[in-house]
Subunit: 579 residues, 2 copies
Amino acid sequence: MSFVNTSAFKSFRPTPESIPPPNAVLKFSIPPGMPVHIHPLNPVTFLLRAAEIYPDKLALSSPEGPSPVFYSYGVWTQRVQNFAYALKKFGFKPGETLAIIAPNSPMIADALQGALAARIIVCPINTRLQHHEVEYILEHSQSRLILVDHEYVHLVKGTKIPVIVSNDTGRVGDPYETFLSEGRRFSQERGWQGLDVEVDENAGCLLCYTSGTTGRPKGVLTTLRGSYLAAVGNSSDARMSKDSVYLWLLPMFHAAGWTYPWAITFSLASQITLRSVDYPKIWKHFLGSGVTHYCGAPTVQIGIVNDPAAKKPPQPISAIIAGAAPTAHLIGSLEKIGITPVHVYGLTETYGPFTRSYTHPSWSSMSLEERSKKIARQGHYFSTAGDVRVVYREDDEKTTNAGGKLVDVPKDGTTIGEIVTRGNLVMREYFRDPEATSKAFQGGYFRSGDLAVWHPDGAVAIMDRSKDIIISGGENASSLAIEQELASHPHVLEVSVIARSHVKWGERPMAFVILHPQHAGKWRGEKGEREFEKDLKAHARKRLPGFACPEWVRVVGELPKTSTGKILKTELRKVVAKL
Amino acid sequence: MSFVNTSAFKSFRPTPESIPPPNAVLKFSIPPGMPVHIHPLNPVTFLLRAAEIYPDKLALSSPEGPSPVFYSYGVWTQRVQNFAYALKKFGFKPGETLAIIAPNSPMIADALQGALAARIIVCPINTRLQHHEVEYILEHSQSRLILVDHEYVHLVKGTKIPVIVSNDTGRVGDPYETFLSEGRRFSQERGWQGLDVEVDENAGCLLCYTSGTTGRPKGVLTTLRGSYLAAVGNSSDARMSKDSVYLWLLPMFHAAGWTYPWAITFSLASQITLRSVDYPKIWKHFLGSGVTHYCGAPTVQIGIVNDPAAKKPPQPISAIIAGAAPTAHLIGSLEKIGITPVHVYGLTETYGPFTRSYTHPSWSSMSLEERSKKIARQGHYFSTAGDVRVVYREDDEKTTNAGGKLVDVPKDGTTIGEIVTRGNLVMREYFRDPEATSKAFQGGYFRSGDLAVWHPDGAVAIMDRSKDIIISGGENASSLAIEQELASHPHVLEVSVIARSHVKWGERPMAFVILHPQHAGKWRGEKGEREFEKDLKAHARKRLPGFACPEWVRVVGELPKTSTGKILKTELRKVVAKL
């Protein structure tokens, strides 16, 4: 790793309370009466094991910014223990909730281990929410304490809940470090053996509020068992190992970083945090720190391949892509610099990814465009997931399942149904919302709300969110399918398509396009944009049925996005409503 | 794979009943009332998933012998389903036991999936047992049906239990194929949806009788949950993936092949079975079939590296070694031909391996001998295991644990204690033997009976089975440690050391040695053997304390071994008793 030779690395010393005692026993205490042949699944055990095997290995680092920190597995595990005891000192009881508001940084990495170790549920809050949204989540989650990064203190202004601020320094004097150090003192060196293992593996683990494009956010409550198994699935699927280095671009507050915090420790790998998605820094670490894995939405991936520093890194890198399907252009651009795109699909309710487009040997002889269409599919379910189906609802009132029996659509690649799943990679419930839970679980499956087809080879492929389907002249046009085709125009950097009402056809597609910087010059000005519109429509007509061709094209400088990089179609709809 | 171009491969057609119907639904039926967020862990689900993702991929092949067979995941999964229905047709009820006696061959691979699919416990019986031992196991296991390979029919002669013989042809007319085909017909094409998932993940899975060097064999009963998690641990630890090819040398009847039958399907990998450990055939597949993984005791590994065909294979191969620690000589020989030795440790009671010697970067600068001593340690526990400790029993009658509280030995690399473990990779019980179970589980841990030290870096290292310790002049000498040092003599191929009584010292070590064929000539005849004895003793004196140096050395042509390649010290003791 490039930073191993820096003076920041060489001179870094963790706080005294971060240093583990000699001969620390790295195991939870086991209450009497536990069967010898069962231990409850708990993702924190991966960290304890990593610290047993590789205590001196670099586990967690935050190498950028004014206060770089570098923690070995031994030291980090002690800090996680301190975190757990700090919660106990505060007065937390098992099953209560801790809120955390932070960018990718050691504090949130600690929380996703340390709170679990204290049997406390963590509620990671999106840093890009408004004050009133944060207020709602804090109240709804019944959070008893808030850990907040110094940059986001404004989000908790006026709250009555106790707050601890982190200056993200890792140095003595930082209030967060004081919190940890007091935890260590409170422990009286009882260590891990002073912490009881949670015997119920279906106990709550994370409480993640959906960023919900409409309506009030819902709190997705996951379990220890689900988090353990999702992490195993991600590690196995991404082929992570002790030689892997994971770079944090995906926010850890987003569906607990898709359970990668535990997939990394399961794999005995190292992780690097960056406070923000900063392309020059990303490339610095791609080229110098041995990064092998990262996750990100297509938007982030587009930024990576278009950065001037982009070139083939010395080691293979896997780019785990979700949030939207990657386009052929993006796949080609990643592969050209030796980055392997891995397309996965999931929702906060499914612990992040639970399906993947599994590659097939026959794809290697396909054209990039053909192959990309395969990679863009959501594919098959993960090793530790329970199932994935594409179904429609049979409205048979005699069935016992509220909402009708779920019937598989034919695997014909054209009939549209809804993606559903069940099993260990499904959340336990929407917190304090039994009505929403039972609605989401109608028919004995979790209903994703994503509309998809089922291909003859068993791969599922999303056509759209149900609300994003465009009904043009009675035909269902998938906005995603249209976007996929428009994105293949060489001058399109990003595109989003939504429905706009039309006198004759009911609805017609309207496309919002960001031009590729290298080609934007050609289409400058109003006249240029009109010419581009003509060009793009001609491109579309060659690839799409008439009802799916965009009726309107607008060139824009940027697209409205959620904090996690998803395009906010609700905002585009507001623009269209005013036209 | 070399055999893909053979006429045997090209002309092979599975039986008509092995062909899956179009649009098969590859999922168990889920009883009503199952929570949406839980699916019971069951290793058969890995096979169903593999058949969904890669139906046409080669899953299971038996390429040697008079009747080669090659099954894709789609076909094999149908055969497994037929197997499950054949058990139902026979009248099996969930939880009953099926016995199987077969070498590595498709039938036993089928059984380890198909019986589970029918919620039947499989009892795989060691093919090298005596008739009366098999009789005992069949009776004790309460087996209702026996599947037996044609080569082992003599083992079930006179039994009253129904028997189905396999001629291992995979062709119409083979009684085993008739059994499967009738299963298919009995299913009336209800498919996987006609088979209920086992809702209790702690239900019995395998019943493996320990080959027990002394006393009556005990039936180790494992669970579906444990088998699932052990398979995940093995796959992750061996870094298996869809590109892996596993070659079966370890008998599948031995602790269910260490759960590799399911680690392979979890990984979406391919497997090749060989009926016997045949070194020329092994090398044929190493060099021509893309083999990436195999498991075997050191004896098998020695045979592999000493085969005349041994040379660097075109792809990396991992040799997973257990049963005894590999010597420096073996490690060096494997590495020289590009095979990576992976040393794991476990017992039938722990689903096979549950610890591994995890390599450390600093080892690469060590000499082979130093490094081998590290690799020979049993190491740390697996990702999905619960724990490993080295303990002694505190004889405190006030403790609630029968047998006293278990106290960790100091991590000093010298204090000897017993290896214990607990959690998901521990068997559920000794079948129909609550007394033996409670004895093995004394203190809330499974007691392995293996004596070990705990190193400062947390690695455990076996010194001996308790009965194999040699007490010489009041000093405890580890027969394993002595063997390790004697094996470093360049002319030693294999060595076993046991205690022989001694007038003055109580016991003294006696070594039985097989000479390396290349050097045997030098020590021919009685005089030669006496000279070799002198030479080996001189070698020992440089490396071992006086009490651990062998007092007697005997050159032998072969060593008595169990069917799984472990040296039978009981047999050597009989030889010594007569001296």
